[in-house]
Amino acid sequence: MASLRPRTTPLRALRSIQPLTRPSPLESTLSARPNIQPATQTPTPIRKHSTSSVSADELSHFSGLASSWWDPMGPSRILHLMNPLRHEFIASCLAEGSTETAPSPSTPNSATFNYLDVGCGGGIFAESLARTIPLDPNTAAPTPTRAASMTAIDPSTNLIQIAREHARMDPTVDAHLRSGKFKYLNTTLEDVLASTQSPESTTTTTATTTPPQYDIVTLFEVLEHIDPKTSSPLTFLTNCLRALKPGGWLIGSTISRTVPSFILNQLIAEAPWPIGVVPRGTHEWSKFVNPPEVKGWLQEGLMRAADTGVSRGGAGVAEGMSWKCVGAVYVPGFGWKMVPGSEDWGNYFWAVRKGV
């Protein structure tokens, strides 16, 4: 466990991390503020979003973590360690339905999938996936995730800026940013869906749903940060499904609301150093969601997403729903491991495939 050992980051490590911690105008305003702020004070640079599922508290918490987001020994270390598992889980989903997905792949292994990462934060997953996009689209995909493009969105201006700055430090990712295969957008899912609607289609009655554009929508460690007071997970998940092409996957990870997860995530993980591995206030146990809840919302969401102006989706859409769920456990000193069955009491990955 990182925080159990003394911080022996070598000198050079500090030097090379420096570009990250260089005070940008945004951060200086952040660090100037006291750590504990009155609830009435609104966090500094937040865009006003129309109908967003984003809660202001969550936004200010994660914006405050921005400067240390990419520090491998920093507060986000445990997220960094989880990242390879996300790739493995996506690969296992794609392996299941590889023959049917993506209507016209020229070669079986070409990189054809367009990804949307919702709530990308500082870009841990988005950047790692963008790194696997081949520079030459005609070559075979280097990994089973077969990404052709990645759009990553987050409502926090700070985090998007940190993500962009960090992406520039990898020439491959930088090239994708320049070519537009990889995009960071400081926006919300709702705005993404709205912006894809062409102005005239909003006036007509037939096309209230937009042509979906993404093969895979990812939602890692996002669901447990949705504020049930301002937005409902059902609406949010329905919107995610609306962004998917038929046959596409919605893939996410979250935490179950159980007694063990309360002890692990609230008492132990957020305990003061040297026991805790997660900054205090990262999680709110009451917002955690259990797999059956996710599954229920997704069934309902699939039906709603299938609704068009002229026809209702109906229960048939949800019946054949392919649902995948597997637990993941963090063992200090060994890292994250997939443990089937542990989804009922701790962290878990889930996935659902939209009908073709």
């Binding site: 090379s16 491998p72 390879p84 790739h87 790194r131 430090m169 930088d174």
Partner: protein, 509 residues
């Protein structure tokens, strides 16, 4: 035409042409940007070449753009050749796990098998107390199987040539070998804003030819991951500001290639070969004789620098007498012979060392497990090198990884140095494969810590064990230390499972 007249011929440049020249300037500023590589390895020894060969052999990492910088001539190393009866004095033992790594990357097939020698038994005994241990796999092998190999002896040049051939075989796409080149400087790159990426955390190497007469300008290359396989005084390690701890043993390793007499009893089974090591507390370290093909053997004798220079000054017959005496005589006899006058060059027929050996051996009971007498020394192979212990404080730093001697140097008494280096390389290659297949940056600390956590402890363990053995076996006399170590040796010899455990540990299973 002299350049000056050109300016005269060009009094006016139209605006569109100015635009072109501006464009050209932008192009030239791009030339200032270093060439980008995924993995740059400094040092073309067995570790560095092993890493490159492993990366080229795996389908996951074979597309990575890799470079290697080596001061020696790699073409010469690839075309290295010796007579079948001649052997280089730089020889290493490969444990079975190193051999299986070389097989897995397809390099073993490129070894000249006529020049390598497996051995199935190792006799180790204490020159002070006579207690003995025999390392072989007989307790793990059924009588109907072939004897299992303890280790495989190979010349380093043979191994380097095999690895180079393997790398050449993989094609030259995405591969740059900077042969005869040194690293003139390593520094952090710069932010290529607004046209390019931010390379301020990337190490940028300036590589220039070793030949001072060469006029080619230094090549600048940037590394996503810079691997230091550049030996004990690693420049990569200094760039990364990684301190290293350790000490000098105050001992030298004397090496030589010897021809042996036929064994008095032919080995059974016929392919069976034995390595011999005798600890000599009074002379400062062990002497070892490791088998090479055609009844040759390589000598590694760890001793004090004074003894080492004495041995190197001896004429061949006296040197041979000393070697044969050291496997046979008492500590007292040996100490006396080490103090004898060096036969001067004008009396080459001086046979005082041989005479001394012949006379003293009549009065010494000989154990059964001694090597056949050495009969000849291959000319020019007697050499020595200082023995040191070093361990880097870390193996990794952002975009830096150290492997082999750059990370650790250990006492050679167990022949583990090269094996630890190859194990590092196997681990680092696995780590890079994992990173590539999971979208990780191969130079990121989060990637590299997998390598460091896999290798740091095993290397410290083996290095520490060799250090402990050295220290135990340099206490002269028959005091409590001598009693304890012979008790320990006899105990291990009688408990097969303890011996098996130690041997497996030594082999890196």
């Amino acid at each position: 035409m002299r350049p000056i007249s050109r300016a005269v011929l060009r009094p006016y440049v139209c605006p569109s042409c100015r635009h072109i020249s501006a464009g050209r300037r932008r192009f030239s500023s791009k030339l200032d940007a270093p060439e980008l590589y995924d993995v740059v390895c400094v040092g073309g020894g067995p570790a560095g070449l092993g890493l490159l060969a492993a990366l080229r052999a795996s389908p996951i990492t074979s597309k990575l753009k890799v470079a290697l910088v080596e001061t020696q001539d790699l073409h010469k190393a690839q075309s290295w050749n010796l007579e079948p009866t001649q052997f280089s004095n730089r020889v290493s033992s490969l444990t079975p796990s190193s051999v299986s790594f070389l097989r897995s990357i397809g390099a073993y097939d490129h070894l000249d098998v006529a020049r390598i020698q497996d051995y199935q038994d190792m006799q180790v005994w204490d020159g002070q107390t006579g207690s003995r241990i025999s390392f072989d796999w007989s307790m793990e092998t059924s009588p109907f199987e072939d004897m299992r190999t303890v280790a495989t002896m190979t010349e380093n040049a043979n191994l380097v040539r095999a690895l180079l051939r393997r790398i050449t075989e993989s094609g030259d796409e995405n591969l740059s070998l900077f042969s005869n080149s040194t690293v003139a400087s390593i520094e952090n790159g710069s932010d290529l804003q607004p046209e390019g990426p931010d390379l301020s955390a990337w190490p940028v190497l300036s590589v220039k030819p070793t030949d001072p007469a060469a006029s080619t300008p230094p090549t600048r290359i940037a590394a996503r991951l810079l691997v230091g396989a550049d030996g004990i005084n690693s420049p990569v390690r200094s760039f990364a500001d990684i301190p290293t701890h350790g000490w000098d043993y105050g001992r030298h390793g004397v090496v030589a290639t010897l021809a042996l007499d036929n064994p008095s009893t032919p080995p059974f089974p016929a392919y069976m070969r034995t390595a011999y090591q005798r600890f000599l507390p009074a002379l400062g370290g062990p002497i070892a004789l490791l088998p090479l093909p055609n009844n040759h053997a390589t000598l590694v004798w760890s001793t004090t620098p004074e003894h080492a220079s004495y041995l190197k000054s001896l004429p061949t017959p006296s040197f041979l007498a000393m070697v044969n005496a050291t496997f046979r005589l008492d500590m007292t006899d040996l100490s006396y012979m080490m103090g004898m006058d060096t036969p001067s060059s004008n009396t080459p027929s001086d046979s005082s060392h041989q005479d001394e050996l012949t006379w003293r051996i009549q009065h010494t009971p000989l154990p059964a497990h001694i090597p056949p007498p050495a009969t000849a020394v291959q000319e020019g192979t007697v050499a020595s090198f200082p023995l040191r212990f070093r361990h880097a404080a870390q193996y990794i730093s952002p975009r830096i990884a150290l492997v082999g001697d750059a990370a650790h140097v250990i006492h050679p008494l167990a022949g583990q140095g090269l094996n630890l280096g190859l194990a590092d390389v196997a681990s680092l290659a696995r780590t890079i494969q994992y990173a590539v297949s999971h979208g990780m940056d191969v130079g990121d600390l989060l990637t590299l810590e997998r390598y460091s956590s896999e290798r740091y402890l095993p290397n410290a363990k083996i290095g520490g064990a060799c250090d402990l053995l050295h220290k135990m076996y340099t206490v002269p006399g028959s005091g409590p230390v001598a009693w304890a170590r012979s008790l320990g040796l006899e105990t291990i010899q009688r408990l097969p499972f303890v011996k098996g455990f130690l041997m497996k540990n030594a082999e890196g299973y």
